[in-house]
Symmetry: C2
Subunit: 338 residues, 2 copies
């Protein structure tokens, strides 16, 4: 039995009613033209703009879903997590809005901008060493001294269900446009978003092909998918900082059941596509959100063969834009311009 059902997502929608931004779906004629030129003639690309979610990422959905599922006593004791980025910011902001104490374990090498954003919403910050093991050990230490509930970034049914609420909206919004998603592609880091979305879409739109995408440098999900066996995290060096983590075991069970493939792409393609989306769609997206676009335009399938973009000709392709938190003082193309 899978760890998540569409009923869990329906419950998450009800639980979070009124607490989330119904993020817009946008379409750019200029972006569509790039896809046509590259071989997907006549394809339409619909962008589900989770960069316009509260705190600038889809992580807010999972954090809100998880916190609203807590008992009164659990809320009084508070929540904790480890994160150097969007999940920590989302959880801290949700906790502030619900009056829940919040502690975020932050690795010593985290960007000071991101730590400042977490601190700004009133969370207690505890610094740990930089490795995943050190982060987890510090978090274990924090919760063992308190009665806080850990809200993990992805490997939890309430979090996965919360991320899945994005698919409920996206599916409604495509129906409002009198179209159906032929393909839906998301980035994959820990897999919370993709597993939540896949659970809903498999149930409500079974004709939609579901794809994940990740950087080659963080290609554990594609390797896990290809071998059907969970593979360890790779060294966290990709520019797509939201996707450095390994896939969680619970999301992986869902992904094996419902997802057709996981594509990978290069660092150069990610940076080029990030800039291209800024120019054509006029929205701020993180490197992680450029990954699905780059994986379609210049990617590999999980078996290592090149993605044939012409297979998407004439299709309506849904892409989840996962976040828009970028350090505007250090844009990745600045160092690469002649």
């Amino acid at each position: 039995m899978l760890p998540l059902s569409h009923h869990d997502i329906t419950e998450a929608v009800q639980r979070t009613d009124g607490a989330l931004v119904r993020t817009p779906v946008i379409e750019s004629a200029d972006l569509n033209a790039r896809f046509s030129e590259a071989g997907a003639t006549g394809a339409r690309v619909l962008l589900k703009c989770e960069n316009l979610q509260h705190t600038g990422s889809f992580k807010y959905r999972g954090a809100m879903s998880a916190c609203l599922a807590l008992s009164k006593m659990e809320r009084e004791c508070g929540v904790a997590t480890h994160s150097s980025g969007n999940h920590g910011r989302a959880l801290a902001t949700v906790a502030l809005s619900l009056g829940i104490p919040c502690t975020v374990v932050v690795p010593s090498n985290a960007s000071s901008t991101k730590v400042a954003a977490i601190r700004a919403v009133g969370a207690t910050i505890v610094e740990s060493g930089p490795t995943l093991e050190e982060r987890e050990n510090t978090l274990t230490d924090v919760v063992s001294r308190t009665s806080m509930t850990v809200v993990p970034p992805y490997n939890h049914p309430h979090v996965m269900a919360g991320q899945g609420t994005c698919a409920v909206e996206f599916h409604e919004q495509t129906k409002e446009r009198d179209c159906t998603l032929d393909t839906l592609i998301t980035p994959i880091g820990g897999g919370g978003l993709l597993s939540g979305i896949a659970t809903w879409m498999h149930h409500r739109s079974p004709s939609t092909t579901l794809l994940g995408s990740e950087p080659e440098l963080a290609g554990d999900a594609a390797l896990s998918f290809h071998t059907q066996t969970l593979q360890p995290q790779m060294p966290p060096i990709t520019i797509a900082d939201g996707l450095r983590t390994g896939v969680g075991p619970l999301p992986f069970e869902v992904i094996k059941a419902y997802v057709q493939d996981i594509f990978t792409t290069s660092e150069d393609a990610i940076i080029q596509c990030m800039k291209m989306v800024w120019e054509t769609a006029r929205i701020i997206i993180e490197p992680s959100c450029a990954v699905p676009i780059a994986a379609l335009l210049a990617g590999k399938q999980s078996d290592g063969s090149a993605v044939d973009l012409s297979r998407f000709a004439g299709q309506t392709i849904g892409v989840v834009i996962t976040g828009g938190n970028v350090d505007l003082e250090h844009l990745p193309w600045e160092d690469r311009t002649p």
Copy 2:
């Protein structure tokens, strides 16, 4: 009698049906928080995202409205205009889509990104000097040698009516959110957008306070408004390249009738607010679109006194985000970072 009525805008809506993006209205909790912190406690800021219109600006509305009003013979002879960027790009793209020949006169100080975009859609480009007079003289020269119809950037009822279609959507979209705009503020360059919007809003939402905004360095509209006499264009040096032009006489008649005030703001405030909107609302906006935000947060009224932001406390403030065409290789804050 004014040069524009709400019937003209209704006709423009009918004429352009299906040819425009119904651009989303977005709201950012982070941006609202900046307004609260600055004195407009509890204010909500709704952004009407014309940066997500075809060609990345509201100019597409006016160009489409004007071209669809041409006779078959006029279409065959072609259209011409002068433009510092967005209007030229919009007209050239509309012309391409309707199969109309197009020539664009471009001032020598136009953004190179914008000129490249005009060229990319197949328009003929003719360069002129930077002042309005030089631009108009060159355009007169072009059309005297051909039978082309001039589609001016703002001083024309069909163009003003086309820009006004933006207000029809914005008004509907605020009703869908069960709210009413207490204030609606736009940038003002030539005044086509503000006059079109003011005509519709005065008729359909008379309780909404209508404001214009412009850079101090291009403060001819505020001076014209204060003196109730059309003043000449100022030297075109503001970073807000879309607002360097002087106000047109037709828009000015409408603005005198319906607009409550025109605010001005400094170059530094424009750049800071542009970056702040990128960070809080996660959309790409041009310097011109930062002007209304900067004028509210750090502006002057047309009589020279400071804007008191506390007067907007608790209000729903509509801001038209006019365009998102920016040269990502040269962002204005890069040179100013220590």
